[in-house]
Subunit: 386 residues, 2 copies
């Protein structure tokens, strides 16, 4: 397989975009990524999106977006694996370029959620859970995460307040991200007093939905020579794994098997281990997922994820900086787009363009995108090292 | 890229499967394909599906089906490009194996439509059209095809009855396909007197929806040696192209640009032209699409597709046998599954296992799957030639 580099990224602000359609959001991100790469075409478009069928009455987003950006004849599909649809699109683009089938791929994640009534969005998000075995019992997606978190607190003896720094750090980092949904600091006290959504998850454990799109343009490294001189950001590792959708069907609901498997595959491909990772854009849809993701990816012992937060090891300068541009918690979580925001953020850091949020000397960045309650996890490692 | 072979196929009957869930249908096809290949595992699962979010309240079908067939840890996604989702899944599986990223891929197309009220299905099918520019005007998916057909009749002087043999041939061929939705012959008179759905399209121009799943298992040719002796069916060509979703936005609404482009790409990869194709599993969702597909793929001059039907050149023994196991018209059109039924049928013919429907000495078979009103077209050429 050919080595692949990301040479362009584009993002829209995550917000309530009442004035922009789904295609405008996606188009903005794609055109920005193309301009950022200095290319005016692509060979294939891979779209990550979860809920346009219900939220926007629109499918086949591949053709829909390719046409909108003036590339109507190109190969173009949608990839869907619930909230990890963004990373699925990136992986499809990566493999298409690595294989030699095409030379220029664009992966874009897009979601436009805020036009829909919140009850409809809750129902759409529940399609990431098991319709027969979970949703039929009346459980919502946040309820599943609450059950996992409740069990985790019971099993390992943590208090909910021990998770505060996951959210405090995310909000602090988002202050420096112009695309982030929230630009406001939160305190330990606010975290502890936040309103409960589904016990023990409160508003400040949960990431906000939003409208947004993020894109990346990929080319084979071997074809970079004719392009203007660029810092080459290589995709060094890519791993993907699935698990049961129904949480109760897992032997251990407190261990993200597919995070472990996909991160190990990515480490192996990149010929590094977790200690080489300079920062980690994880999938903190809920604080419990932050903890579980850190553990399964090798950054904490089983049951000890919150310790990294309590010890401030997740901030810039800590052992493993996370959510360096706000994470899902504060950058926002437009579900099918999130995986591509993570990729754009990793590239931004590796280019040294993260401003106040810059991780000094960052060479290896990791992004991990989670679909469902851990049922589809995709991990990518990018690097600016030769 | 590595050469890729299909060594296993599996299909379920297309019917109203009130007694089977979405996962059971997909699982049956996947397990049959694995058994047919003599393998009890795969590395990656690629699911083609259009409307499970609305029709079955279920997304992330990758993890959903991988788990059901006992392969829960594997990479697994859904591909969606409306009615060409099946071929999109096959192409993703093909590229994943060709690239070297994985060795054993299963592509499965599945759709379970008949549980839903028909108004909901009509609304779901309309998500393949442009929500902003077409559906907002009240046009349904069949209405778009009717507009195209009306214009075609006007432009080229055909009568609707000239299209009869497309449907008559499909129904005749489906008699020999145990998986087909319909096992009944139709006559010219029945075709001419059929009830109008949307002028000029009648019930016998249109393909029936249904529930069903079809799958194929792909491996690199270079790894075939250790497997039991099999007739090797190679994937010789694969092309994919998109077009505007909105029909009115096309310079020429009577020409399937993306069929032309994707078939030319497939011919080029296979190093053949259309005259080498022994049979063609085309996308006869409506008789007008049968004509347009034949023209854009090089089998008829512009505006002359119906001539092939009138002259009986589309039957076994004719210039270009089509819908050899019933096509969408009579085998049935479970939308996201259709592309994989086409692949399974091409493999069946190339293996010489098509029974009464067998095309004698078939060496090159082509499948073309159309999403939307021609907005996403994917063409595959398979062969049993060395």
């Amino acid at each position: 397989m050919r080595e692949v580099a990301v040479i362009g990224i584009g993002q829209t602000e995550i917000s309530e975009h009442w004035d922009k359609s789904l295609r405008e959001l996606a188009g903005d991100a794609v055109l920005k990524a193309m301009a950022n790469a200095g290319l005016d075409y692509f060979d294939g478009l891979y779209v990550g999106n979860m809920m346009s069928a219900s939220a926007n009455n629109q499918q086949q987003l591949g053709a829909y977006i390719a046409d909108w950006v003036g590339q109507k004849s190109k190969e173009a599909y949608r990839l869907e694996s619930a909230c990890s649809s963004g990373a699925a699109a990136f992986r499809a683009a990566l493999i298409a370029v690595a294989s030699g089938e095409i030379d220029v791929a664009v992966a874009v994640g897009v979601e436009k959620m805020t036009d829909s009534p919140s009850a409809e969005i809750t129902a759409s998000l529940a399609t990431a859970a098991d319709a027969d075995w979970e949703v039929s019992q009346g459980v919502s997606f946040v309820a599943l995460n609450a059950l996992i978190m409740q069990r985790y607190l019971h099993e390992y003896g943590w208090k909910r307040s021990d998770f505060a720094n996951f959210s405090i750090n995310a909000h602090a980092n988002a202050m420096h991200n112009p695309y982030a949904r929230f630009h406001m600091l939160i305190t330990q006290k606010q975290f502890e007093e936040a309103g409960v959504i589904c016990d023990p998850i409160t508003l400040l454990d949960a990431s906000p939905i939003g409208d947004g799109a993020a894109a990346a343009l990929l080319v084979p490294v071997e074809k970079l020579a004719p392009l203007p001189n660029k810092s080459v950001i290589r995709v060094a590792g890519s791993g993907a794994a699935s698990d049961t959708i129904a949480v109760h069907a897992r032997k251990d609901p407190l261990w993200l098997t597919s995070a472990e498997r996909s991160s190990k595959d990515a480490y192996r491909q990149a010929s590094i281990d977790q200690y080489s990772i300079d920062f980690f854009e994880y999938h903190d849809a809920f604080t419990i997922m932050a903890a579980l993701s850190l553990e399964a990816s090798g950054f904490a012992e089983r049951g000890q994820g919150p310790r990294l937060a309590l010890d401030n090891e997740i901030r810039k300068g800590g052992k493993i900086p996370v959510a360096t541009l706000g994470g899902l918690k504060a950058r926002g979580h437009p579900v099918g787009a999130t995986g591509m925001y993570q990729i754009a953020e990793v590239v931004t850091q590796l280019r040294g363009q993260a401003g106040e949020a810059q991780i000094d000397g960052a060479r290896w960045g990791m992004a991990q995108n989670i679909g469902g309650s851990g049922s589809n996890i995709i991990t990518h490692i990018l690097t600016n090292a030769d």
